[in-house]
């Protein structure tokens, strides 16, 4: 198959005491290499949950999630925690809205962390070059607490792409930034993902950013995909 | 007046009940080390009448022998209290007591160490001007070199403290007793004849229970008192009690309030009341009035009343009645006396705790007419 990611009929509900709240119901979606798909919808519509399902941080109640990476097709929904973690570290990058960086690691160390986890030191030069390209050439040894919000998100992008994953997941990556910085960071994310030939699945409130996506998946209060 | 005599005897014996019983505690408290060997009270006390002699009928006192110890009886004491004054008018009180307690009825045959008697000495001085009451005690086994009572000359001694007779009998005495903080040296001379208490010296307590008892109601005292480094010459009046017995009182009484007062008129007055558990007046409350010439008038329960007027609370929270109204039908007519402690704190903080101290006597008009000693027991 030529798709990077295939989500088919995935459902997820959270149980809080006797209260069962359905967040996702029969969501289907597929991404090809180079695809940028934006998830839009009000708070609680299941955007983050969908990203976490794809990342394997939570497991789905029903449906399947398939990832095509490294020449293999991986059925994420059949894997256990450890195997999902292995898939995640090798083939995915994740950018959050907050707490993107490990505070006790420098900019450089944050970026190199995925390489260490994957033992892919061959990518070090490119990863650091990408960091420089993102305008952080002089901030390699800085700790995250000294960076501005925009800089932090740029480091997060560099970190998410360092091991050159096939799929990048971004959860409101610009939600924390003013509109100018947001636009710049989104632009960088786009460029870098495209340059690597990966796919990007991103959740955002920002219509301007969503408008630049190849497709927009609208998620409603009923948690049903709209688009 | 047989019943009155009997009651009087009962009461006089009763006021010594606590020292007698608490002397046993003194033995219990002998400080050695921790744990182990427990005192068996029975073996010290002997079971009731267990070989000890008993006071059952009046007997002629033979002096000087009867001034000495009667080891066949369980307990005995030589009890001296004095109200004193310095040449500049400062008041002092003095108490010297030697208690004897038999550990067994028969004398032990053996060496001098084998005495079966224990002696306890109490010494106290009240310095009214200095606001101080000092007390000390000494406990020792009977031993010719340590403690005992000898005759010819009379010598009641415990571990360095002495009540010495000068000449035959108790008519002339000397007290020599020193503690680290204070000392007493007094010469005493009896001014009145010896008073045989109760039925010619037999103090009946009840059916088959009695003690032998006599007093020297007034002795002139002169000598010196040392407190710290300060030596003060003093003179005054003293009271000496002698009593020996075997029986122990019932526990129906809580304690007693006892007074021995020397009046400037030359009369001496002794009165006490027993405090009963049921709060009622005890029919054995009584006293004795000794006229200036030595004549005696027994005081019956109905002849006097004692009413506490003021209490002093010690640091343990115990309230001691230190001021009293004493209404008494004396041979010279009814008197309304007021008796006030010269110092509130004259508590004897010794192996057993009681209050024994100098008091002042005032008449109806509020004039000072005498002084004496008061003993309060059973308040803890």
């Amino acid at each position: 198959m030529s798709q990077v990611l295939v989500i088919d009929g995935v459902s997820k509900a959270f149980v809080d005491g006797n209260d069962r709240r359905s967040v996702l119901e029969s969501v289907s979606l597929s991404l090809a290499p180079g695809d940028v798909v934006a998830l839009q919808g009000p708070s609680g519509s299941g955007k983050t949950t969908l990203l976490n399902l794809v990342a394997g941080l939570v497991s789905a109640d029903a449906g399947s999630i398939g990832l095509c990476a490294g020449g293999a097709e991986l059925a994420l929904h059949t894997l256990d925690d450890a195997a999902r973690a292995a898939v995640r570290r090798a083939h995915m990058g994740y950018v959050f809205q907050f707490f993107n960086l490990v505070p006790t690691l420098t900019v450089r160390e944050n970026v190199l962390l995925p390489l260490e986890l994957n033992a892919r030191w061959d990518l070090e030069e490119r990863a650091l070059a990408r960091l420089d390209g993102l305008g952080l050439a002089d901030r390699h040894d800085a700790f995250p607490e000294t960076l501005s919000g925009g800089e932090r998100q740029r480091v997060a992008i560099a970190r998410a792409l360092a091991h050159e994953p096939v799929l990048v997941l971004a959860d409101e990556p610009t939600g924390n930034l003013d509109s100018r910085s947001a636009a710049a960071v989104a632009e960088l994310l786009w460029q870098e993902v495209r340059r690597l030939g990966g796919a990007l699945l991103l959740a955002t409130h920002d219509d301007a950013i969503a408008a630049r996506a190849d497709r927009v998946l609208r998620m409603g209060g009923s948690s049903r995909p709209i688009g | 007046m047989m019943p009155a005599e009997r009651r009087q005897a009962y009461g006089v014996r009763a006021r010594r009940r606590a020292p007698l019983r608490l002397l046993l505690l003194a033995l219990l408290g002998v400080s050695v080390t921790a744990s182990a060997a427990q005192l068996r009270l029975g073996s010290v006390l002997g079971e009731a009448g267990d070989g000890f002699q008993r006071a059952e009928r009046p007997r002629p006192f033979v002096f000087p022998e009867d001034h000495g110890p009667h080891p066949g009886f369980r307990s005995e004491w030589w009890y001296l209290t004095a109200s004193l004054e310095s040449p500049t008018g400062e008041a002092f009180g003095m108490q010297f007591t030697l208690f004897r307690q038999a550990l067994r009825p028969q004398p032990v045959i053996g060496g001098p160490w084998d005495a079966s008697q224990v002696f306890l000495g109490h010494l106290a001085v009240t310095d009214v001007a200095g606001g101080r009451h000092l007390e000390d005690e000494r406990l020792s086994r009977g031993h010719p070199r340590l403690a005992g009572v000898a005759l010819a000359p009379f010598n009641a001694f415990v571990d360095g403290w002495r009540l010495l007779g000068i000449g035959p009998g108790l008519e002339r005495l000397r007290v020599d007793a020193a503690s680290a903080d204070f000392a007493v040296h007094l010469d005493l001379e009896s001014r009145k004849p010896l008073v045989r208490q109760g039925d010619d010296g037999l103090s009946s307590k009840g059916p088959g229970q009695a003690s032998y008892y006599y007093s020297l109601p007034r002795l002139a005292a002169v000598g010196e008192v040392r407190i710290g480094d300060k030596l003060t010459p003093v003179a005054g009046t003293a009271w000496l009690d002698r009593e020996w017995s075997t029986s122990v009182l019932s526990d129906a009484q809580r304690g007693w309030d006892w007074f021995a007062l020397h009046l400037e008129s030359g009369a001496d007055l002794m009165a006490f009341q027993l405090r009963r558990d049921d709060g009622l007046r005890d029919p054995f409350d009584q006293g004795v009035w000794v006229g200036p010439d030595g004549d005696t008038w027994p005081l019956r329960t109905q002849d006097f009343t004692l009413t506490p007027l003021r209490w002093w609370k010690d640091e343990r929270g115990v309230a001691w009645p230190v001021d009293w109204a004493l209404a008494v039908m004396s041979p010279v007519g009814p008197r309304q006396l007021r008796v006030e402690a010269a110092l509130d704190d004259q508590r004897m903080d010794t192996l057993f705790t009681y209050w024994e101290g100098l008091v002042r006597v005032f008449d109806e008009a509020g004039d000072a007419i005498g002084s004496g000693y008061m003993e309060l027991t059973g308040y803890e």
Partner: protein
């Protein structure tokens, strides 16, 4: 206010695990305070209970040649004529040997009523049986095998056992002096010794300190011989002859004096355990507050008065503290019982925590003080510390470091600062180590080597000192205390054994030999069991006005070896104890002042010697102007000889002789020691247990602090094994830092105790030994404890700490 309380209570309900760990932490703190007190009190009780009754309250024993009762009475009369002499009591004592049921028995007679009364002395009141007072009963040592009420036939007399005591004297009987004279068949004038109690000016302080921490009072100076010397010197002018010689009662029971010194040291280290517990309570408060931080900041943001916030936090915290006090008090009693039982397993010890002891008001005061007081103060301090930004504490820290270092230096070097100085030094070095925790952690701040995950974990430890420093300090102190106790005890034990060997070179010791020593030695050598007889003598002398004991013997190489000296002593050569060197400010190689041409060629520790001691060959005696008069014999028996039979024949032939068998003395001494040593393990364990809880709490707080990072790492694909690795590195780092500080601190503590505090308080030094068995176990335990705390699962709780974001 009501909404504040509601928010606090809801926090409590929503974070039951936090509340529970806080409660457990505080309760354990209180429990350890209670347990340490109870354990120390128990050790002290057994030490006191082991005292021979005739020595109760006495400080010295007086002897003189040909002593008799008249000498005693003369002394007593003199005392009573001088009521201000610093004397509390004088007691005539008689001792001798009897054969009862075929066994040699020491019989001790005393005038029990003459023993000093009151609380001034070390003894507690004992009720001596009336039967003993009237001379019909005996008190028997527990070793003798009789029980109260048993009948006993001694010399044809039928007597009753009126009491049984554990006196530590082996087979011994105590009787009234009159009965003892009859049983030994001597006249009423015969006594052996006069027991003396001098006034102890330190008594009130001793009592206070002992209440504060049982065993502490032993560190205060013992009533010395100075008032006694003055007494005797003054007496010499008034008919008391100067031939009296005095020896301290402690010399009678060197093992007990030694054990007391150990107890004192334990008391000191118990205080450090107390410090650990207080750290823990404070830390629990700080961590708990941190978990509430978000709630509190939010409340402050909506305008709540910070004072009100502080009050509501304190109220909740102190409420928790009260619950912890009750729980901790109960657990403390159980813990003490359990630890005492565990540590005395296999020893026939009568250690048990009695209910009465547990209800001692001082235990209560300490428990409530720790639970309630430390909660209040600790909670407040935590609040203040948390609320204020950490503004430049560096200068303050350096100032404190310098001050503490100075205190350590002064406490150790200034001999005049006494025991207090020694302890201040120990306390100061402990606080010094505590202050070094944060800078040491700071070294890890830029850890730049190794795997990123390792680096990350190392830096986490370094970056959040506020979360960890108190726990780390507690762990450091606990491990250091363990090392200090371990080394001190090991050193004590090895010295103690050395002392026993020095003291007990003979199999039998005979005292009261008097003029018959020649005949006695001949008789002994004729016995088949006897291999060797050595003669000893002792005289009282003065050097430069300082009273010393002058011991003499035929000082061949074997005799010298007992004092660690390699060869025999020549005429004019002397060995002296350390105390003498200090008292006279002398050194080995110096001349003994006050004697003609006597050189000090060696020094020995002289454990239990409260006064100076000079040992010379008998040929040197004339240089001191002292005639030779041997009064003790040491007898060595042949292998497999029947010692009991020999003692039996000996006491039958020489009834007035005092015979002591080495095996008895040694066994009793070691038994007392094993009990005391056993307790040290309990104390160490307790401090470590408390520290583990503290470390767990701290690591949990750190983990919760780093929850966002953990989530991020998980998103990066970090596996649970890798997460465990991070946790282990954190915990291991904590353990490593604690151990790195604790090892030197523990050794320094042990050294200070052995070489500074002991010489000052007991007059002898203990040679510090550093066997791995002393320091390695606490070290390993510290690391294992930290790793264990790191591996224990963190509590799962809804985010009380951070925003869900």
């Amino acid at each position: 206010m009501s909404l504040l309380v509601t928010s606090q209570l809801r926090f409590l309900r929503r974070s039951p695990w936090s509340a529970l760990t806080a409660l457990i932490g505080m309760a354990l703190g209180v429990a350890s305070v209670v347990a340490v007190h109870l354990i120390s009190a128990e050790v002290e009780r057994t030490l006191n209970a082991g005292a021979p009754p005739h020595l109760a309250g006495l400080t010295h024993l007086l002897t003189r040649p040909d002593i008799d009762a008249d000498d005693y009475f003369a002394l007593r009369d003199w005392w009573r004529d001088h009521p201000r002499a610093p004397v509390r009591g004088l007691v005539p004592l008689l001792d001798g040997q009897l054969v009862v049921d075929g066994r040699g028995v020491q019989l001790i007679g005393a005038d029990w009523l003459a023993l000093p009364r009151g609380t001034d002395g070390p003894g507690a009141p004992l009720a001596i049986s009336g039967e003993v007072l009237v001379g019909e009963g005996l008190i028997a040592d527990a070793d003798f095998g009789y029980r109260v009420g048993d009948r006993l036939t001694v010399g044809g007399r039928d007597l009753t056992v009126a009491g049984v005591l554990e006196t530590g004297l082996g087979p011994a009987l105590f009787a009234d002096i009159g009965l003892a004279q009859r049983l030994l068949d001597v006249g009423p004038g015969q006594i052996s010794l006069v027991g003396l109690a001098v006034v102890d000016p330190w008594a009130p302080w001793r009592r206070r300190l002992d209440r504060l921490m049982p065993g502490f009072g032993a560190g205060l100076p013992q009533p010395g011989a100075a008032p006694l010397t003055r007494l005797l010197d003054a007496g010499a002018g008034s008919g008391i002859d100067a031939a009296w010689r005095a020896r301290p009662v402690t010399a009678e029971r060197p093992s007990a004096a030694f054990a007391r010194s150990v107890l004192f040291n334990l008391g000191a280290l118990g205080t450090l355990a107390l410090l650990v517990a207080w750290f823990l309570i404070y830390q629990v408060g700080a961590i708990w507050l941190r978990r509430q931080h978000l709630v509190l900041t939010r409340l402050q943001m909506v305008g709540a008065d910070p004072r009100l916030l502080r009050r509501s936090f304190l109220a909740l915290f102190v409420g928790l503290g009260l619950a912890a006090t009750v729980l901790g008090g109960l657990v403390g009693v159980l813990l003490a019982t359990l630890l005492v039982k565990l540590s005395s397993a296999g020893i026939d010890a009568s250690l048990a925590v009695s209910a009465a002891r547990a209800l001692d008001p001082w235990v209560m005061v300490k428990a409530v003080g720790s639970g309630f007081g430390v909660c209040l103060v600790g909670g407040y301090a935590a609040f203040v510390r948390e609320w204020r930004p950490a503004a430049g504490p560096a200068r303050w820290r350096w100032l404190a470091l310098c001050a503490l270092a100075l205190l350590v230096l002064l406490g150790i070097t200034l001999e005049r600062s006494g025991v207090l100085g020694g302890f201040l030094a120990i306390l100061a070095m402990s606080l010094l180590a505590v202050l070094l925790v944060t800078p040491l952690l700071g070294l890890l701040r830029h850890a730049g080597r190794g795997r990123l995950l390792t680096r990350l974990a190392l830096r986490e430890v370094a970056w959040y000192p506020r979360v960890l420093d108190v726990a780390l300090a507690a762990l450091t102190l606990a491990v250091a205390t363990g090392i200090g106790v371990g080394l001190m005890v090991d050193s004590f034990r090895s010295d103690f054994q050395r002392m026993l060997d020095v003291r007990l070179a003979g199999d039998l010791y005979l005292y009261g030999v008097g003029d018959r020593q020649g005949a006695l030695a001949d008789w002994l050598l004729a016995q088949p069991e006897v291999a060797e007889v050595r003669r000893f003598g002792e005289a009282r002398s003065r050097l430069d006005g300082v009273p010393v004991a002058l011991g003499y013997a035929e000082f061949d190489a074997r005799e010298s070896a007992r004092y660690g000296f390699p060869r025999h002593l020549e005429t004019g050569e002397a060995l002296v104890n350390e105390r003498l060197l200090r008292d006279l400010d002398l050194d080995v190689g110096d001349q003994v002042r006050g004697a003609r041409g006597v050189n000090i060629v060696g020094a020995f520790p002289g454990f239990g010697d409260p006064q100076g001691r000079v040992l010379v060959d008998v040929t040197s005696l004339d240089r001191f102007g002292v005639p030779a008069r041997f009064d003790r014999l040491a007898v060595n028996v042949r292998a497999a000889a029947d010692v009991a039979a020999l003692i039996g024949r000996l006491t039958e032939r020489f009834p007035a002789l005092t015979v002591e068998a080495r095996t008895t003395i040694r066994a009793v001494a070691l038994r007392i020691f094993d009990r005391t040593f056993a307790i040290t393990r309990a104390l160490t364990l307790l401090a470590l247990l408390v520290a583990v809880v503290g470390t767990y709490n701290a690591l949990t707080a750190l983990r919760l602090n780093q929850a966002a990072t953990a989530e991020l790492l998980r998103a990066q694909g970090v596996t649970s094994a890798e997460s465990r690795h991070i946790a282990l590195v954190r915990a291991g780092t904590l353990g490593g830092v604690a151990v790195a500080l604790a090892l030197p601190l523990g050794i320094a503590m042990a050294w200070t105790l052995c070489a500074v505090v002991n010489p000052r308080s007991f007059g002898w030094s203990v040679a510090l030994q550093l066997p791995p068995a002393g320091w390695l176990p606490p070290l390993l335990l510290g690391i294992v404890a930290a790793l264990l705390a790191g591996l224990l699962p963190a509590p799962r709780e809804r985010g009380a700490l951070h925003d869900a974001g």
